[in-house]
Structure formats: C-alpha cells, structure tokens
Amino acid sequence: MTVSDDVMVDHDGGASSPRGVVTALWTKVRRGEATLLPILLGLAVLVIYFQIRNSVFLSAGNLTNLFVQATIFILLAMAETWLLLLGEIDLSVGYVAALGATTAVILLDAQFHWPWYLAILLAIAVTTAIGVLQGLIIIKLRLPSFIVTLAGLLGWEGVLIFFVDRQGTGGTIPVQEKVLYDLVNGNLSPLATWIFTAASLMIFSWSILRKDQSRRASGLEAVPTAVTILKVAALVVAGIILVLIFNTNRGTFTVLHGMPYAIPVDFVMLTGGGFILTRTKAGRYIYAIGGNPEAARRAGVAVDRYRLLAFTLTGVTAGVAGLIYASRLGGISDGVDGGNLVLLAVASAVIGGTSLFGGRGKIIHAVIGGMVIATIYNGMALINMSAATQFIATALVLLVAVTMDSVARRSTATR
C-alpha cells in the first residue's frame, strides 16, 4: 500500500528529522496551528514569577490546591468549548452548573436521602436537559445563542434562588453527604495515585506509539521514533512529578496526601471529550460546522443534529462542573456568581487557544487555560495582590490570548 513520496513529500512539513520537527513546529506556531506552545511558555513565566515572589508557590500543598482550584475553571471551560467550536456561546453555563449542584445537594440531604449515584445522575440529567432545551430554542427558532443563553443567565439564577431559599436553610444548603464532599476534599491513597497515573500514562503512550506505528506500517510519513520516544518520556516525567507532588504530605496536623478525586474527574472529561472531537464523526462535524456551516450542510452533514449534540455535551459537562463546585464550596448558596464563572470559563477556553470565532480549539485548551486562570488567582493571593490587580491582570492575559487568536485566524486566512 506504499504511496510513492515523490509527489506528496511529507506529513508535517519536513518533519522527518528532529531538526525538521523544530522547524515544522515553528511554522505551525506562526500559522496559529500550534496554539499550545506559546501559552505553555506563558504559564511557565507566570509560575517562575510567583515562585520568585513567594517560595510557597511551588510547595506541594499549594500546587495541589492550585490544581483543585483550576478544576472548576477547567470543567466549565470544557463545557463552553463544545459551543465555541461551533462559533456559539453559552452565557448561562455558570448558573446551569449551580442548578445541577443544587439538585444533587437537595436530593442528598436529610429530607430526601437519595443514594449518591442517583442524585449525581439526576443532577447531570437536569443540566443536560437544560442544555438540550436551550439548544432546541436556538436551533429551531434560529435565535442567537448569545441572547438565548443571556436569558438563561438571568432565568436560571432565578430558579436557583427559588430552590435554594425554599429549603429554608438561610440561603445556603450544605453538602452533608460524604461522596459528594470527597469529590474535591477527598484523596486517592498514595498507592492508588501511582496506579492511576501509571495506567493513564500507559494508555496515552500506547495510543501515541500505536498511531505512529500504524502510520509507518501504511507507508505514511510519521514523526521520527526518537521524537515520539521523547514525547512519551516527557509525559512520563510530568506524570511522576505530579504523583510526587500529590503524594507529599501537605497536612499540618494530620497526614494529608494523595491525588484529589477531582483530578481523575478532569482526566476522564478530557479523555472523553478529546476522543469525541478527534476520533468520531460527531467531532469532525462539530469542527466542520464551526468552520463553514454551509459547506458542512452541502456535504450532507445533518448540521442541526450536531449543533444540538454540542448543546447537549455542554449540559453534561456543566453538570459535572457543578458537582465539583458544590463539593469545593461545601454547599451551594443563592449567592453563586454564575455570571463571573461563565466569563472565567470563556476566558479559560480562549486563553488556552480555543477560538471565539468557531472551528478551532481543543479540549486540552480548556485545561491549560483553566490552569493559567487558577495560577493567576492563586499566585496573586499568595503575594497579597489586591482583588483589583487580580482582575486587571486576568483581563490583560485574556486580551493577549484573544489577540493571538485573531492574528492566527488572519494569518490562516491569507492565501
């Protein structure tokens, strides 16, 4: 099945030697195809700055805290990503998440006492249903998602306040059930942390190696083995460092170690979302619709069906985010600032490299962007910066990210 290489030279623009890889990478950065690299560099700069200003920053305790803080931004940004890829937006996602959390918290408290898995399932079902409902309104009535979800932002806050206040617990419902509480506050044992990390690394490395191998076997240009091995090695090193951080005792009075449960939750959502986007027709169609809906329609793609799917996935992801949010706060209150949450979610996705204009972005961008936002908040609190400075700094990072997005878009559009 080998195809002669005289015509189509390569897979990645000369990426057949390690040096070629570097050149190809640089070309990709300039074209805006490799959005991950600049933002990772930016994150590194932030980390170094905060570490110099306060040596507590890179301590195991603070880093673990940072990862947990980032989780809510990451998950909400993932929820937003499904719609950003279509060139749509969901402004209601913060309150929808909170509403899901409220469902779970109410069902788990003394009055109803549902088993945790049913309560969690119903919470996610509620947010999914809201996603579908908003999606149907937007698609069937051909309304802009910005306006419909703006109505959602207002409306779902009202519903949230209604249900929380109806409980008669003074505007806050605490999480009393152990599983939901432990979602953020509980940890895997150090051994389980090792096992989970090793298993994840094995799955990732296996899929990378297998992809390379099957490309080579089919006579297609693949990245050099040395580069692949380097990539896998870097992943393994990162994984080991993470485990060492999580497994260091960070308790002051009692021993506290292990990976918070929230991290595997992030990981499952990342892997699942990434799988849908890169390996399935649905993912391919979401990109196509975001890039050129008319082209997708003419190619026979059932555009409305896949748009609805994206709204559904946003609902599912928002449900998971809400559970994490309630767990972290130890309850849900009628004062949840869903407006601020959604803005940070969109900021996270865009900072990570997902385009606001549709068609470009990845689930991993939500992770990186969420980490950047969490790092700014965490680091600035550590060096005692005022809330005013925190907001302004976040704004500047967002502006830089959006500018990069726009520049990349224009450079791709030149032909």
Binding site: M1, V3, S4, V7, M8, V9, D10, H11, D12, G13, R31, E33, S214, R215, S218, G219, L220, E221, T278, R279, T280, K281, R284, Y287, A288, G290, G291, N292, E294, A295, A296, R298, A299, G300, V301, G359, R360, T412, A413, R415
Partner: protein, 278 residues
C-alpha cells in the same frame, strides 16, 4: 496523460460524441429535453435541450443572467425544473434534491468551493463520507486514498495532505474541491467558474485538471466567462442567451468571434450545428 487504472469507462473518441441519433451506440450520459424553470412570473429557463456526453468537456457559456447558473442548479437538484425531462444514461430520472443528483453520480463544484478552511485536505475530501473502523475515524485509509486521488490527478503542488485548506492557494483549493468530486466516483462533474478567481499559472493548473477528468471518462460541464479558457479546454460548447440554449456543438465549429456574437445577441436563430437536439 494516460488513462488511469481503476477509472470507470474510457474516453470516447471525439467523432461520435454527443449525438442523439437513433443509430448511436450509447446515449449521452445526461440528456436534457425541454427543461423550463419559472420563478414566479420570471422564466429563467425556456425549453432547454442539452446533451452532456462522457469523457468530454462541455463548456456552458453566456452572459450574466443568461440562465447558466439556474441550469446547473437544475441538474444538481437544487432547483428542480418546472417542466421538461432529464435522462441519465438513457433512463428518465427526477433530480428533485441534491441528494438524488449525488446518488446518480453528479458532483457540483460551486464557485465558493464549499470547503472548510479549518480542516485539512483529507478531512475536507471526506467530509460527510468519513471512513470509519470500529466506529472511530479511519484516518489512515482516508489519508492514503486522498494521496492516491491527488496523485492520479497530478496535483503536485500541495505540501502535505494534512495541510489546512485555509492555507492553500486558490488553484489548490479548486483542486481539492474537484478531487473530492472524483473520489466519490462521480460520473458528471459540474464546475461553476472554476478559474474566475485565479492567476495565470493557477488557471493553467485547473485547466489541466479539467482535461484529466475528461480523460478518465468523466463528463465535465464547465461554466466560464473566460473564452480563452473555454477554447483551451472544452470539446463541446453550449451557448445560453436569455434563458434559452441557442446553440451547442463541437468546439471546432466555433471561433471566438462567433462565440461572442452568440453570447451577446443570441445569434438570432436557434440551431444546433451538429443537429443533435431540437
């Protein structure tokens, strides 16, 4: 350019193309008889007769508003005709939807090309027709097939089939759009102004590509404003004027002066030089 293995049918000798005579061996791939299309009171097409034979490039020319676009949209199933008959491989068919046209093997490459700039060449080629294995996308099969088709069409200028379409030149984009039509085993490829937005060398590439298609036995129907391109690439010519098809016949019976005259005045008479249709 040799005939490529695996292509269906072979290029017909030029002498016996496009004749609707009862004695002809096989009917032309597509035959339009008395096609009319009304948009309210406006008669966009008036009793159009046209034959589109296999392995031949037919150029559809005419001034703005002559009905060229309406005619190809009727063939592509976008504007089903108000009246008239369409025969495909001699059988009467109804092209009531783009899907129906596609199912027969009619592919249309519109002027806007309908490509997704944010997807790479392989992804665009397979959009809506992805190959899957165990319910997941089979990228390797799709990439190999894309490379095979582009190689066969001698599209040699793209850096990589994993390049984003947004970064391609106009000629390359046209090539991807055409290759997509070829890959889906189309028997008739309709192209709307394929060279309108292109520079000199890219136009040459696209014309070469059109010739390639015909040599594979595919019927090609090209709309063009550019008579230089038409005379460079077409085997047959069909002239439209105010919704009617005024003349059609082998290109050898025309020159630029005659073509311009027909386009601008309709020639006054409605005859077909090869007497194929009435």
């Amino acid at each position: 350019m040799t005939t490529t293995p695996g292509s269906t049918g072979s290029a017909m000798p030029r002498e016996d193309m496009g004749t609707g005579d009862p004695g002809a061996v096989a009917p032309p791939l597509l035959q339009l008889r008395g096609i009319s299309k009304n948009f309210g009171a406006v008669e966009a097409l008036k009793r159009v007769d046209l034959d589109v034979p296999r392995g031949v490039v037919t150029a559809l020319i005419g001034d703005n508003g002559a009905g060229k676009s309406t005619l190809i949209k009727a063939i592509a199933g976008i504007y089903p005709p108000s009246s008239g008959e369409i025969y495909w491989e001699g059988e009467r068919v109804s092209l009531h939807s783009p899907r129906a046209a596609e199912a027969l093997g009619i592919a249309t490459v519109y002027q806007d090309l309908a490509l997704c700039d944010n997807l790479d060449i392989v992804q665009n080629m397979y959009l809506g027709h992805e190959a899957t294995k165990h319910l997941t996308l089979d990228e390797i099969t799709m990439e190999l097939e894309t490379r095979r088709v582009l190689n066969e069409l001698s599209v040699s200028t793209v850096r990589s089939v994993r390049q984003l379409v947004g970064s391609l030149s106009g000629g390359q984009r046209q090539a991807v759009a055409v290759a997509r039509a070829v890959m889906h085993e189309s028997k008739l490829v309709i192209m709307d102004e394929p060279t309108a937005a292109l520079g000199v060398s890219q136009t040459a590439q696209v014309l070469e590509l059109i010739t390639q298609l015909a040599s594979r036995g595919i019927a090609v129907l090209v709309i063009s404003h550019n008579l230089n391109d038409v005379f460079a690439v077409a085997d047959r010519i069909a002239v439209m004027y105010l919704g009617t098809l005024v003349e059609s016949g082998p290109i050898s019976q025309y020159d630029t002066t005659r073509a311009v005259e027909l386009i601008t005045t309709g020639g006054g008479l409605r005859t077909n030089t090869d007497g194929s249709t009435r």
